[in-house]
Symmetry: C2
């Protein structure tokens, strides 16, 4: 069989990793696919920049058409990022009959469904394993490994930056601002960290996971998002006392025909498999009706882990090429989108409230919860602090989001409540 | 497309799970494969026994030929267990052009290579995901998800019974015998627990994992096996003091062209991802050159988890049927078998030694280690106990197995050493 020709769009960290793996693992690739795999052209912005990997100058181009319109190129690997222009490139590539492998979560979260449709029309594969949780083969596991099961819950630590920050805050008792600065200095967080710390990056990945896991097209705007910038070291300390670990959790839950997807800082019980996922690692916890609890753990980003996913997808494309079955593995969503209403979303909640240190306050507060039919799992009443303020920490039993919102409103209206310092979802091991 | 007909060999716990999943998830299966999937015949020993699932009497047979020779049956699912007779059945089925899905680790560990060859000759799929770590799609992940990487290490908690026993011993400070009895009463351990507790079951699974992960045919007799029946609550307690958790670990390591595979009770540093895998859960930790650390966690056994793997394999077979590409996905081992010599196998070790409480004993002992060039990471010298005996706990830096065996021999010969109470491999997070 003739060599497989690759066109690479982008040559940043991940692109360099792809070049490196194709070079270093050529014998394994040859053995698996039965022919050499070579990179024919690489699209870059700057032709003369020094690169972390050795590249023949002749391979580089700054004209995308040199790749998209080259009939000899079989597979386009997209690692340039970006949304609109990149989407156009990939649609052109697919229309030219080229198979596509992408690591672009932003693009797949926003336009995945359209791109997959074009791929299918033109008999092309479009694989995107690397778009969620870099080195973890979670999309394959959802589609193939759990093919026969009905997934009812997915929880993901799918953003390495925030997990690094929360781990440091938790292990070292330091503040969010301090740890963020350190993470930026070490290159674990971007100069503008908004997309990571405000949960948007995680939301994009949850969109992709929920769409596949629930076989239902979920849009990014369906995902309720809250980031970690408001998490304090006090919250984390109180959580610890109660046996909880703070994580930024992408939560996707199905009940009957309806689903909910959200991203929010969450207290996990310490014995939850996700609670021990530390530093920049990612993990996706999947609950299937038949299989029960499973978890997939690994590096969420990084040059070589992400490139491993990409080249593994490439192996999939080439195997399909040999068998002549490209463009036939994507399964379209089975169900129409149905989102839960707020009164169908249940959770336990952690609340930390500052109240005036007066007689009857505690009764006033608990009455509000009782009126909504919400009871408590744990109550931590703390010693009186300065300025005649008491601190109350509560963990509720399951409450609907409607009740919870109502309770928060009424607490805020209560004259004796000075401030609701924090409020988080709580998830225990047993669902 | 016409319905796909299944023949089921065996209707025990897992077989009942298969029936249940095919029934309960028929709409998902239909959506994925585009046609109904029906069970046409089930081989059982006893036609009139009461079953945990409702089965039409007409489906049952006690004559294997009713399945193996029925031209209408497309796929044979083997969940009857056993080795020789079962192997003959599966070879007959493959020669009849039937695809096979099996959960039989014993059979695959011993005769997998032969069966896969027959499957390939007859253009049939032979899938066996359920044979290792029941509900965890680990084999697919090794073959597809990490297709482009070079796996250098796999460590598995692949036996639920022993993990349950060690978890209870560790969390509750109880003895092996006591916990084993309880596990037997609860149905977590067999009446004759030998295959589980002596590590043979784990060794079979490691044979399958190592063959796939290293792309090298590993035989069961290549796996050095030690079980947990000698593990004491004292060992576990000392380990805890040093920050270690005791697990029965299947260890497969590759260095250059050579590999080693073993199963033994092992102390993991508490921060190792495998250390937090509790009770009957399984997990496989995989280290790839490019991807780094990944871990796959889930139920290792049980009716529905195992059946999920089996039916997911079935979905794979049926997808291949639709595409006309059966029998083409198996990749034969890339490398000839090369096993490490003992002087190429390196590990840290934990040793607990009872010595006479005499002057100079400690120097005598440490001299033996020094003569082999082995130094210490930790030394715990314990208060003198009764009968003029001292207890010394040592953790070495890395030593070859040859040195280790030599050291053990010389320690045994030392007049001052009363008894080597225990000796275990130690694995830390950073490899």
């Amino acid at each position: 069989m003739k060599a497989i020709s690759i066109g690479l769009l982008g040559l940043g960290t991940v692109g360099s990793g792809v070049v490196q793996i194709i070079k270093n693992h050529q014998d394994k690739l040859m053995h698996q696919v039965g022919c050499p795999v070579t990179i024919k052209k690489i699209l870059v912005q700057n032709l003369i920049k020094t690169r972390p990997v050795e590249i023949e100058a002749g391979l580089l181009t700054n004209n995308a058409d040199d790749i998209l319109l080259d009939e000899e190129i079989d597979v386009v690997i997209e690692v340039m990022g970006g949304i609109d222009a990149t989407k156009d490139y990939l649609i052109t590539a697919l229309r030219q009959g080229k198979h596509v492998v992408t690591a672009n979560k932003d693009l797949m979260a926003l336009h995945g469904s359209e791109l997959l449709t074009v791929a299918s029309e033109y008999g092309c594969d479009l694989f995107y394993e690397a778009s969620v949780a870099g080195g973890i083969p979670i999309l394959r596991s959802l589609v193939d490994g759990l093919a026969s099961d009905r997934v009812t819950q997915m929880m993901g630590i799918v953003n390495g930056t925030t997990n690094y920050i929360l781990t440091k805050m938790s292990n070292e008792g330091r503040s969010y601002d301090e740890v963020l600065k350190e993470a930026q200095a070490l290159g674990f967080a971007e100069t503008d960290p908004t997309s990571d710390v405000e949960g948007l990056d995680a939301a994009r990945k949850m969109t992709i996971l929920a769409t596949l896991g629930f076989s239902m097209h979920i849009d990014l705007e369906d995902v309720k998002v809250k980031g970690i910038s408001g998490v304090t070291e006090d919250d984390i300390r109180y959580g610890k006392q109660l046996g909880y670990t703070m994580k930024l959790i992408g939560y996707a839950h199905r009940e009957g025909e309806k689903v909910e997807v959200s991203v929010a800082p969450t207290f996990l019980s310490d014995n939850h498999p996700l609670a021990s996922v530390q530093n920049e690692y990612n993990a996706v916890y999947v609950y299937g009706e038949a299989v029960g609890e499973t978890m997939f753990y690994g590096p969420g980003a990084g040059s070589l882990p992400t490139a491993t996913s990409i080249v593994s997808d490439l192996v999939g494309v080439v195997k399909n090429l040999r068998l002549g079955v490209n463009g036939k593995s994507a399964v379209t969503p089975q169900y129409p989108k149905q989102l839960k209403d707020d009164n169908e979303k249940y959770s336990k909640y952690f609340l930390r409230i500052h109240v005036r240190d007066e007689v009857g306050v505690f009764a006033d507060i608990t009455t509000i919860f009782a009126n909504y039919g919400v009871s408590f799992e744990k109550i931590l009443q703390l010693p009186i602090k300065k300025h005649e303020t008491s601190e109350i920490v509560l963990v509720t039993h399951k409450a609907s989001l409607t009740s919870y919102d109502g309770i928060l409103q009424e607490l805020n209206d209560l004259q004796a409540v000075k401030e609701i310092k924090s409020a988080y979802r709580v998830v225990r091991k047993t669902i």
